[in-house]
Symmetry: C2
Subunit: 391 residues, 2 copies
């Protein structure tokens, strides 16, 4: 349902609801406030990062249909910054005429990894091979046929590597099955592909169907958590072209407006395969805040508020590194902040989470520079100095 | 008094008090939230632009010493985004050990235009000629000696041209004197100089004495209200050098950390004269948000929180145009917003003020482009389409 023209001309009267009040929600709000937009956040934690700048917060969980209905009732457009939320209630709300972006049908589809992969397969989009798993015997059969290593995945609920288990030897099958709760959870198995690069494309669809891509970033994960995004990705131009083409193919098939992230693998032959889709702003797009003419957060707002999209371009090569909590838990503190702020083209973001714990995403740093190599050196320097630790 | 190191390493525990909750305060907060900083705003209007993102607001006027003391008591550093505030109470608070930046002594000095000019004169800084005025006869004597036109100014309280009156004929003397309340208000008179350009330098002093200048902007005023800032200023390189030198001379003499704006005139011979100093972030520095590697707001925070300053540079030539309310009063609406958002490198800011009235500063637009000429053309196009009007 199109937004009222009067509302669109008075952005300070627009109310956007966001399910999730983490750092992604916070950064959406920071952009929206430049236009005076009002935000209502649904999050169970009253100290969530977005709370300090949201106009209002509804305290509640992401599966609380009553609270989600309440949120929808008081905003012009509803969006989300998390994926594990009650998609059925969102679909019902769309039926009732609410604007929810990206479309809950897309959300519902990606929430189940097996359904997501099947969708890609059906649409003829290159992706890694996969198979549904019910019993340990299914895994054994798969491995006998396809070989090792393989990756066992929970179809629901995984993020940052949770819900995934790599099987490297036959001995590990039973343990992996138990770990992911195979007797009660829906599971799938994938070939563990050898890739040379992980890349991601942040893409947006506007209200009039236009699609815009951000420059493609290369992602480095450790312990399944994104550590670093480097832009432009250090792959050949032909790979970038394939990735863009693939991203456009995916975008043509997804429903709804807003920003999406399409994660891909590049194999040693230079083939590009879709790994996973997120119908939301994404950690690998944080670099756009300083590295591009428009941030992913602002582009998301342009899309869901039915304004025209910007055509993104890179101002300078960029590197984003996540600031994860070190070993020491407690109230969060950034060691080395003053030193790092002396470096040029260095932007520190600290999400405002009160407590740190190991590997918790507490903030990120964006570095701009002449080329990816120089940025990698600079990042090493920053990493040595800047530590999130408890006190 | 230096900030505690622990506090500086935990920016999410830092509390900054801001006197004034207008758009300047709002934009300071938007930058500070990237580091998770907390803000408490003192403003009499509960719907002021900063209110929607401040962590807390103290409702009160800028001369309410009790409320100012309350604000100081609950923050680590106190700053201000307006000039017409109770400077004496701020000076007393500094005596008691509070950190207030820039120094209230500087604020006190600039609040009285005669004192400000005398200060510049004493420090040997080039400025326009001026004289104190008490009676109509004083004005007559001045004009007999110096000629017309002259500009009569109230020493206190003027902004956006309020408190100024140009005298072009002898007949206007009495009227100007009455208009500015000469029998009760302190007045001064200045030679009305013919200038080819108005320019301004946004400068910052850090906690360790370092001074950093932003690229110099050229300002266009109409009806004494800033309409447009063009960066780089369209003056010769030698003029820019003189302006930088002059700005550094001024900065060496001012007290306190933070961002200052130094407004200057360029005369037909290419001489540069200081017109006015503002010890705060400034409308003519808004272009820095998109046009520079660091915004004036972030630089201000770096300074007052005793972090190192960045060295500002221009990403692309920039033009900032203010969005002032048109004739029609009422609830604010931006006609043409959707159209303008189609233009590339065009950034619309809307402060979130509910009501518009003629010439009220409701927002601004920053344009980036190849050169000032192209930007002027683009600005004309934007101006034709984008209107703030009431409904």
């Amino acid at each position: 349902m199109a937004l009222d023209k009067k509302i669109k001309n008075s952005p300070n009267t627009v109310k956007i609801g966001i399910i999730g009040g983490g750092q992604l929600g916070k950064m959406i709000i920071l952009e929206g406030k430049k236009l005076g937009i009002q935000f209502i956040v649904l999050d169970p934690d009253e100290n969530c990062p977005a709370a300090s700048i949201a106009d209002e917060q509804i305290l509640g969980g992401y599966y609380d249909s009553e609270k989600i209905e309440k949120l929808a009732a008081c905003c012009h457009v509803l969006t989300y910054e998390v994926e594990h939320i009650h998609a059925d209630i969102l679909m019902a709300l769309v039926e009732k005429g609410h604007s929810i972006q990206p479309a809950p049908t897309t959300l519902k589809m990606i929430q189940n990894k097996y359904r997501q992969k099947t969708f890609l397969l059906e649409k003829g989009i290159a992706t890694t091979e996969f198979e549904k798993i019910t019993t340990v015997v299914d895994i054994e059969n798969y491995i006998r046929r396809e070989g090792l290593p393989a990756i066992l995945k929970s179809c629901y609920g995984g993020y940052d590597g949770k819900g995934n288990k790599v099987i490297r030897t036959v001995d590990e099958i039973e343990k992996a099955y138990q770990l992911l709760g195979g007797s009660t959870n829906e599971l799938m198995i994938e070939k563990y592909i050898t890739f040379t690069h992980e890349i991601s494309v942040i893409a947006a669809r506007g209200a009039y169907g236009e699609i815009r891509l951000f420059p493609i970033g290369e992602n480095i994960h450790e312990e399944n958590i994104l550590r670093t995004t480097i832009v432009p990705a250090r792959v050949e131009a032909s790979v970038l072209q394939k990735a863009e083409k693939l991203a456009l193919e995916v975008m043509e098939e997804l429903e709804g407006t807003g920003v999406f992230c399409i994660e891909m693998f590049v194999d040693p032959e230079g083939n590009v395969l879709v790994n996973e889709i997120a119908p939301r702003v994404h950690n690998s797009g944080h670099y756009t805040m300083e590295g591009c003419n428009i941030s992913q957060f602002q582009q998301h707002l342009m899309a869901i508020l039915e304004y025209p999209l910007a055509t993104p371009y890179l101002i300078k090569p960029s590197l984003m590194m996540n600031l994860l909590g070190e070993e020491k838990e407690g109230r969060a503190m950034i060691e080395g902040l003053t030193e790092v702020l002396q470096y040029d083209d260095t932007y520190v973001h600290f999400y405002g989470k009160e407590y740190t714990k190991p590997l918790r995403k507490m903030g990120h740093v964006t570095l701009l520079g002449h080329n990816p190599e120089a940025l990698m050196d600079k990042a090493e320097k920053v990493k040595k100095v800047l530590k999130i630790t408890g006190y």
